[in-house]
Symmetry: C2
Subunit: 380 residues, 2 copies
């Protein structure tokens, strides 16, 4: 009822001016923008601008949900390799970028040249740096990946599928041949990627050793991850203990662990690498400890451990068709209830929402890993 695409002037005037000033078919959009890199609390502004009905190749979309990922923060700080475009396209006083990289949209209107989308379609972002922390956007079909308009897939599930589940999916598939019954080991196991890897492993018949940091309530967290399908869950201290060799051998039946997933760095990662078998692979996708990885040379030369990194943005840009197939497969698991969401905390965003409320969500997301994922959910 709050959509204003291509309607008549009369119809537009009939809609509530308070919610979205709409005249001659224009929608008033809001976006979290920044014109220079810095701390999100310092540099983000809530910018209001009109969005016209789609024309030609354009697609006008409204956002349904957009999460706050660690990479979004790094991008605003200017320490992320994917730099957003700074433009005055949204009539900002200075060239600005819209924050946020992941999210789900609904199509409001399409230009006459657009054949592959129609109003009501849902889509996720095909590439990084789209700018997803905003109520509306003008897009082209090259930037959108259509997803099923299936009521059993929530906006939050759709908004969070591109980064974490896709990262886990590719790391389990692309770095070493894994067959049913094979083992992998990962740290940061309670992160979004970690929980995705546990569940995909379970669905594909893979076994997982999951490393978490010690914390209050660690036993409950262990149980929670085991409910998702984790075969072993240990703290960093337990992993480093000599006695863990025996436990691991007993669980795996002596089978070598050939794949490790790392988002931590520092000593806990070296400890993890030591548990890999001859010729094993460590795939790094994050550095929550902000520490580099330290590799004893013998592990490279004599144990033939291989170290690679993975960045889902690059992968997505290179493999658009495979991305579509992967997303379809993941939605399949979600629909049947085999793949559970990460714990989340929603922040509602409507035309009345103050910038302070949005920044508070960003602040919460920066504090402590293993907390709930913060997500903007758009109303109206």
């Amino acid at each position: 009822m709050n959509r204003t695409f291509g309607r008549s002037l009369t119809a537009a005037l009939r809609s509530s001016p308070r919610r979205h000033l709409s005249l001659f078919g224009y929608t008033q959009a809001k976006a979290l923008v920044y014109s220079k890199y810095g701390k999100p609390q310092d540099v983000l502004r809530l910018h209001q601008h009109p969005i016209s009905p789609a024309y030609g190749d354009e697609i006008t979309v409204k956002f349904l949900a957009a999460p706050i990922n660690p990479a979004d923060i790094n991008q605003i700080e200017g320490v992320y390799p994917a730099k957003p475009p700074f433009t005055t396209a949204l009539s900002t006083p200075e060239p600005s970028a819209v924050a946020g990289n992941e999210g789900v949209v609904e199509v409001l209107s399409t230009g006459s040249n657009v054949k592959d989308f129609q109003p009501g379609d849902r889509a996720i972002m095909r590439h990084t740096s789209f700018g997803t922390w905003r109520t509306h956007a003008s897009a082209s079909s090259a930037n959108l990946l259509k997803i099923p308009s299936d009521p059993s897939i929530t906006a939050i599930q759709a908004a969070t599928i591109s980064v974490n589940p896709c990262t886990a999916y590719r790391m389990l598939k692309d770095f070493t041949p894994m067959q049913k019954g094979d083992w992998f080991i990962q740290n940061g196991a309670n992160s979004g990627v970690g929980r995705s890897a546990i569940q995909l492993g379970r669905l594909w018949g893979l076994k997982s050793v999951n490393v978490i940091r010690n914390r209050p309530g660690v036993e409950e967290l262990k149980e929670e991850l085991k409910m998702l399908g984790a075969d072993m869950v240990v703290t960093e201290e337990e992993l480093a203990n000599r006695s863990f060799w025996g436990e691991l051998d007993e669980k795996t039946g002596g089978k070598r662990v050939m794949l490790g997933l790392n988002c931590v760095g520092g000593k806990p990662t070296t400890d993890l690498v030591r548990r890999l078998g001859y010729g094993g692979n460590l795939v790094t996708y994050g550095a929550m400890s902000y520490q580099p990885i330290t590799i004893p040379t013998g592990l490279l030369i004599f144990k033939d451990i291989r170290f690679r990194g993975f960045w889902v943005s690059t992968w997505s840009d290179k493999h658009p068709d495979e991305k579509q197939a992967m997303i379809d497969e993941l939605f399949g698991y979600i629909k049947t209830g085999e793949f559970k969401d990460v714990p989340i905390q929603e922040t509602m965003w409507n035309s009345d929402t103050k910038v302070e409320e949005l920044k508070a969500a960003i602040e919460r997301s920066s504090k402590g890993f293993g907390g709930k994922k913060q997500i903007f959910v758009f109303e109206g």
Copy 2:
């Protein structure tokens, strides 16, 4: 004239008893052995034992030359993954191992079942842990790799071909596709492997950036490596300097350096890795600094740098036929003078040589890298 294989008693008695006590066809052999791991100066003993004429599947060989490699020292210290067999086969009072892994032999006699070797043939070791610091040995054809008995190939060249030139060869061939005009970068460039890589690179049309430690006479060393075919030679400090980006770009014409060879570790290796292009490979084969490798996570995730190790022993065990072809190719370069020896210092070993003289050579080899390679050359 000093060979005593299968000759008559009379003939054996005619040979000089001082050089090698030979009675009933037995040769008196000497070997540097150890019965427990430790510092070479502490644990090595010179053990004398008889070697009988070859019988059945046996091949009796005399050594012509055997180098002292860093790995040999590590093996004696017990910190090398390839452990030698400890046996009483040489009639040692305790189970003992013979030190040394690389060398060249001449066949003295063959048992009646041996078809592929005959007296006078030359051979190198097919596997690690043969025990090459000895005057004579009893071997089987499975342990020997025949090489051409070509007078233009010296014993020293043959004795030092298996480890360093083969390591350089495989690292340039097996880790990333390299075409004529492509660049690689290596540290420890004045080491045996480093000099081999420079020369193979030159022969194959590859360009090299060579990193060495600063030292007295560094300019002379730079010139020496350039004479071998090095395209750039820089010190570790020059490599780390920001201005090196410009120099490198100018030399390479902006071409990305996709392969790095590392035998150092620590900060100089991190500096080297930063010079690799997107998707580049670092291959580690040594750790002269005894420091681990420190990898900033961003180089893995966002620059897709790949880290592997290489150990020629494992490779040789897995690829016997390719090893033969590679050795033949390398000898081809040596014969035409296109592939130069590393600087060496010989220690003569005959029946009069005292254990102290041999240990002095080992001591020299442990001191400082970039010095001359120590090599035992057998007389008599």
